[in-house]
Symmetry: C2
């Protein structure tokens, strides 16, 4: 077995929870008004999409840097579509990478995204068991 990660989630009040982890950070979660919450923090399913973006984003940016690509800006837009019935898992996830820089190689961008998707991204390779994940990219000359 590989490395171990620990997290703790504590009820604050109502449907508001605080989540923290080994690395010492904290984040608030809360339900929407219609589910008894006050929107003081993320919906848990939003955090999953954010974690997916961070996971594949870290993969892609480190590969592009190794490929000597000169990146000035990098954004990942994610859209998740849930099943209608409980447990309402993600059935489809679209990931759009927006890579901004000088003289970027489209081949490098496409390769880095593909390697993250197929080999490296831990989060994507868990979520793709229930969701069809599609990726796209836009390259913007800085």
């Amino acid at each position: 077995m590989g490395s171990e990660i620990n997290a703790k989630v504590s009820l604050i009040n109502g449907m508001e929870f605080s989540g923290s982890s080994d690395s010492g950070h904290a984040v608030k979660m809360d339900a929407a008004d219609e589910f008894g919450g006050k929107n003081i923090g993320f919906r848990p399913m939003e955090l999953i999409l954010v974690g997916l973006g961070g996971c594949t984003g870290m993969d892609v940016i480190s590969m592009l840097r190794k490929m000597k690509q000169d990146i000035s800006d990098f954004e990942i837009n994610l859209k998740g579509k849930r099943a209608e019935d409980h447990p309402k898992v993600y059935k489809e996830i679209e990931i759009e990478f927006v890579v901004k820089g000088r003289n970027l190689s489209e081949t490098s961008v496409a390769k880095a995204i593909k390697l993250s998707e197929e080999k490296y991204c831990s989060v994507g390779n868990m979520l793709n068991k229930t969701a069809k994940i599609t990726t796209s990219y836009r390259i913007v000359e800085a």
Copy 2:
């Protein structure tokens, strides 16, 4: 198809990313020092565990309240064990619920956890495709 969720993840600097979502919240992510980061935010795989805790935590607390249980404190401890090889998905996840309150019914606690695990928790029902998820609980008389 059910509801749609959007998120955006933006590179700040180095391996530091900011993630935000439809509901208007933001969270920092970063890699550890050994992977070129500065630990300014969560590892993405930590966020997944936190999201799982929030997801099942919201399920369980709302069911326990409907069952008229008098809860004074509620915590969820999570431990994830990753595969050794890429993509290093979670292979095992342990969730411990610590429920504190007055005259709590063990039957109600066990039932709420089971319903979240088997029927309601979106995050758990995605992650259980790669990870064996085990749950346990402790009831503490307040």
